[in-house]
Every structure is written in C-alpha cells, then in structure tokens.
C-alpha cells in the first residue's frame, strides 16, 4: 500500500513539475495551455492522495475541463500564431528581477527549513467522511450558506461588470452581421496597453 501511495505521489509530482515547466518554457501558447492541463491533472492526483476525492473531481471538471478550454478559446481567438511582444526591458532589470526572485526564494526556503527543524506540529486527524461530496454539500447548505450566497452575488456582479465593460466596444452584433474579423478589435484594445512600454513605468 505504501509503495502504491509513493507511486501515485511520484507520478503526480512529475506531472505537476513537468507541466509547470512546460507552461512557462514553451514558446507556443497552445503548448503552454496543454502543459498547464497536465499540471492540473497532477494536482488532482495529489488531492486523491489526500483522500479529498471531491476536490480531485472538481479540479478535473472545473480547471482541466472549463478553465483550460477557455484559455484555449482565447488563444485561438487571438490566433495560435500570436507571439508575445518582444521583452522591452533592459538586461539590468531582468537580472534585478532574477536576483530578487532568488533572494526571496532562499528566504522562503530558510523559513521553511527553520520551521521544520523545531518542534513539529502534528495535525489532528479528520473525522471519517471529511471532504466527501456529502460532507461538503452539508456544510455548504447549512452553516456556510452565507458564503455560498455571496459567491453567487460575486459571480452575478462580475457578469454585470464584464458586460458593462465589453458592451459599446464594438457594434452590436445583433444589429449588424458580424464578420469573422469582427472579433479582433474586441481583443486588441485590451492587449494594447500592456504591450506599450510607457515612460511612466519607469517611475512607478
């Protein structure tokens, strides 16, 4: 049983790390999205290992099923050949970024090592059935009904906000016949500000 556990752990870890590396390293955005999918599947495996089967299922359904597909949609809309703009930053700021990252990574590592060295805190075992669909559902609809409602409200207003921002950017598609090219202006203005290196960025 131990060997099986370790096997699943090793497999998920490899998936997560390999997928993460692939997401960052590959030049083609579609490859990145697929690598992200692999990484997400690995995380689902870790949840399974922790006996959180509900979370594992949700991870696959929502993230692998919906979110990554959405990413792919956006990439396809922009055109799979869409290249990220050339990095306009100077070598100094890149090295500075790398140095900051290394410094903070070492800091975090030191903190983690220090925390593991002293007295370890063993977490209490959870009652049987913790994290199953029944338990989550019962929690959601009894004691946590308020957060559930608020997340519903949050999603509603996010939709209202998205429509308020998106509407008026292009001619109403219900009035005019939308050409396939018509989608491009919608995405382009969103992207444009991030690409344009402004003189202000030096100040901020």
């Amino acid at each position: 049983m131990k060997a099986l556990d370790f096997g699943i752990f090793a497999l998920s870890t490899l998936l997560v790390l390999g997928g993460g590396l692939g997401t960052v390293a590959s030049k083609n955005p579609i490859r990145s999205a697929i690598a992200l999918l692999v990484s997400i599947l690995g995380i689902a495996g870790m949840f399974l290992l922790l006996a959180a089967e509900f979370l594992a299922a949700i991870q696959v359904l929502v993230y692998a099923g919906a979110v990554v597909v959405l990413f792919l949609f956006v990439i396809m809309l922009l055109g799979p050949a869409a290249q990220s703009p050339a990095d306009a930053r100077s070598a100094i700021s890149r090295y500075l970024g790398a140095a900051t990252f290394l410094l903070s990574a070492t800091g975090v590592l030191a903190l983690v090592l220090r925390a593991t060295k002293g007295a370890t805190t063993t977490l209490a075992t959870q009652p049987a059935g913790f994290g199953t669909i029944e338990a989550v559902g019962k929690e959601l609809f009894t004691s946590s009904i308020a957060p559930l409602e608020f997340s519903g409200a949050l999603l509603l207003v996010a939709i209202v906000g998205a429509i308020a921002v998106a509407r008026g950017k292009q001619p109403d598609p219900t009035l005019a016949v939308a050409t396939p090219k018509g989608e491009e202006p919608e995405a382009a203005p969103e992207k444009a500000p991030s690409r344009r290196p402004t003189p202000k960025e030096a100040h901020s």
Partner: protein, 505 residues
Amino acid sequence: MTQPLDNLRSLAYFGPELALSGAILLVILWDLVVKQARVAGALAIAFAALAVSAGLSVQAIVSGAGSRGLFNGLIAFDGYTSLFRILIAFVTAMVLVFSKPSLEEKSAREPGEFITLLLVLTLGMNLMAASRNLLMIYLSLEMVSVISFVLAGFKLDDAKSSEAALKYVVFGGVASGIMLYGMSFLFGVSQSLNLSDIAAKTAELTAQQGKVPGAVFVGVVCMMAGFGYKISAAPFHMWTPDVYEGAPTAVTAFLSVGPKAAGFAVMMRFFSEALGAVHDARIAGTVVDAAPWAILIGCLAMATMTIGNLSALGQDNVKRMLAYSSIAHAGYMLLGFSGMSKVGVASIAFYVITYCFMNLGAFLVVMAVAEQNGGDETVGAFRGLGRRAPVLAIVMAVFLFSLTGLPPMAGFVGKFYLFSALLETGGTWSWTVAVVGVLNSVISLFYYARVLRVMFLEDAVATEPTTVRPMFQVTSLALAVPTLVLGVYWSPVYDFVVRSLATVR
C-alpha cells in the same frame, strides 16, 4: 463574548446589507424597465439604500446593540462594523454626488451599471469590515477587487483607463493569490477558518514554543499582501499611481478612500481577532508579546510613508501626486497601528474619517479644474486659480493643508492621535517609527505647497474668472467645513468612534 446566531435569526441584524442588496437588484430592474428619469430614479434608490444602511448603523451604535456573530459567527455585528458602515455609506453617497453630472449627460455610458457597481462595492466593503472568517474575508475582498477593476476601466475610449484596469487586474490577481497561500498556512495550523479558532490555536502554540510558530508568521506575512494591496501599502502599492491617474476622477476619489478604509477595517480585525495581537495600551509585557507583528507593521509603515512621499515629489500630474500622497497616508495609518493597541485602532478609525473629507475634497477640486481646462490634470492647470476661481482655490488650500497635517485642520488632529497612540506603547522601536513619520510629514509639505504656490503666486495665461459648476462649489465647501471644524472641535466625533469601538470583544 459574542454568541453566534443561526442563519434565519441573523437576518434581523443584517438590515444594512439587505437594504443594499435590494437596492442593487432594484437599480438593475429600474434601468431596464423605466425610460423616463432613468438616472434620477436609480440615484434616488441608491441614496435611499445608503441612508438606510447608515441610519441602521447609527441606531445600532447609539442604542448600544452589543455584539453578535451572524450566520453562525461568520459575520460580525458590532460597533466596529457599524462605524465603518456609516463611513462607507457616506463615501459612496459623496461619489454618487460627484459623478451625477457626468451620469446625466446624454453621452454617459451605462449610468445604471455604474450605480449598480458602486452599490455592490459598498456591500462588499461592508462585508469586509464585518468578516470574522477567512472565507468571508477572501470573498468580500474579491467582491471589492473585481468591481474596482471594472470601474477603473470605465472610460473605454481612453487608453489610460484600460491600462489602469489591466494593471489593477494583474496586481490584484497576484495579491489575492499570495493572500490565499497565506490563509492556507493558517488553516493548516488551526484547521479552522474562524478567526477566533485561529487565535486560540496560535495562542496555544505560542505558549508551547515560546514564540509565534513559523507557519503562522509566514501565513500572516502572505496575508499582508492582500491587505497591503487594498490599502496600497508598500511593496504592494505599484498599481496605485497608474490606476488613480487612468480611472475616471470620481472613481479615483472613491478608490482612494473607500477600499482603503475597508482594507484597514479587515486588517485590524484580523490582527485583533485572529492573532489576539491588539491589546489595551499601557499593560506591561504586552508589547513584547506582540513584538513580531508590531515590527512587521512598523517596517511596512516606514517603507510606505517614505516611498509614497519621495515619489510624490517629482509628480507633475495632480491626480498622480495625490495617488502617491494616498500611499503615504496609508503609511501614517499603519504607523498608528504598529503600536498594536486599541487606542491605535480608534486613532486609525478617526483618521480615516478626517482623511475621507480632505481626500474626497481634493479630488473633487481636481475634477472641477480638469473640467475647466479640457481634461488637463497637471499642476499647470492650477495656475492662477486663486484669481480665477477663489472659492475652489481656498477650499483646495484647506484640503492640502489638512493632508499635510498642519493645525488647525482635521488632518492635524488625526495625525496627532496616530502618533500619540504609537508613542503610548513606548520603547525604542515606537520612537524610531515616529521619527520617520515626522520626517515624512515634513517632506510631504513640499509637494502640497507646490500646488498652493502655483494656485496663488503664479499668474495664469488667462485671467478672466472661470465658471465652475455650482454643484462642485457647494460640495467642495460641504467637505471643507468638516475639515476645518474637526480641526478645532473634534471631541464629539472622537468620542463617537471610541464609543462604537467599545463593544468589540
């Protein structure tokens, strides 16, 4: 001690939020159905809901309604929440007044949506001030963030506005990601999302190990990313200048006060309820107990003040300058909290009140001046304002003096309470932080005085008096009067603040 109420019985104490939620739905419906007086009607609904929210909260404080945990202890009903509710309702109402003229124009974009989103923001900020559970803290913070992104990008034809929104989204995503990571540490240690359970577990482990456990420390530091982002404290302040400059000025005024106040509310509640770090002042030994947090907050305060003030010096755009000034003010408020005392909490609540008058006022004047000069928001647009629009110029002078913290303005009294709350705890550390704070106040005089000099001592190209909307004059005067009055006669307001905070735990 507070007793938790079940879901149904909680609704009786949930009036302000229910009123706001009802108003949000009503405004959406009104905007869809009614053709005549669309904006006026929607504004009336919004003002009514805000009045109900503030009125119920005043009543709760005055009648001493005590403290309750709503929805099984997820949300607090106490004087602290009520105080911030009143403040937030006031800020929203002021911003609605600011944006009324532009909403009523024919070319106005989606006025109904704008009002709806502003009301949702108010609801989210109310919940931020009331959350006593990590899940609720996260949800309410997200509610405020998501709507702020939309409002920052509300000027679609303006590239700067879109840039502001995008930067805000990227920074917001990173900050809330880091905060969630921190929350996972706290949940791992205490196995509960309730702040009081976390406090109990942390106290137990601290007593066992003789120091705050490393996991809790890392968790709190990560959570500071989320809080720091909301109050625009360094090093999470990067978004502030761009967003404040790019967003419509009414939205900027709102973002500089509302979410900042709510951010402080949720941060102070987190430290006091989840870490038990906030004590009555002048108890020997407590400062040592709270040491890591006092030093953490003190460092953040010093960095925030210094970065804000030094960057503001070179700014030519007044909105951008006020953005850096608002970062500096977040630093002053953190300074009041770094003493980790209940007096500090009261002093911050009082400072937020004074800050809301003076900062809203300053942005209103910028809005009026920019409107006269075809959208020019640079210092040059203020040239000769003392001659061309004396009322606006004098009112602006009041706000800027108050922001500097000169007597007899409200800002001075607010700052006085912040510094005295810090020094009451005593010790070398407090004095160090306080000295840095005083030096920063001196620096801030330079950039505020620059606007004053341009307004009164430099001649404009055109000398004829400008016509300013009467609404701008009346509203800016209405904000200047409390700024002056609170500078000489502040005790009723301060007493009200202290009284409302007395019911907390």
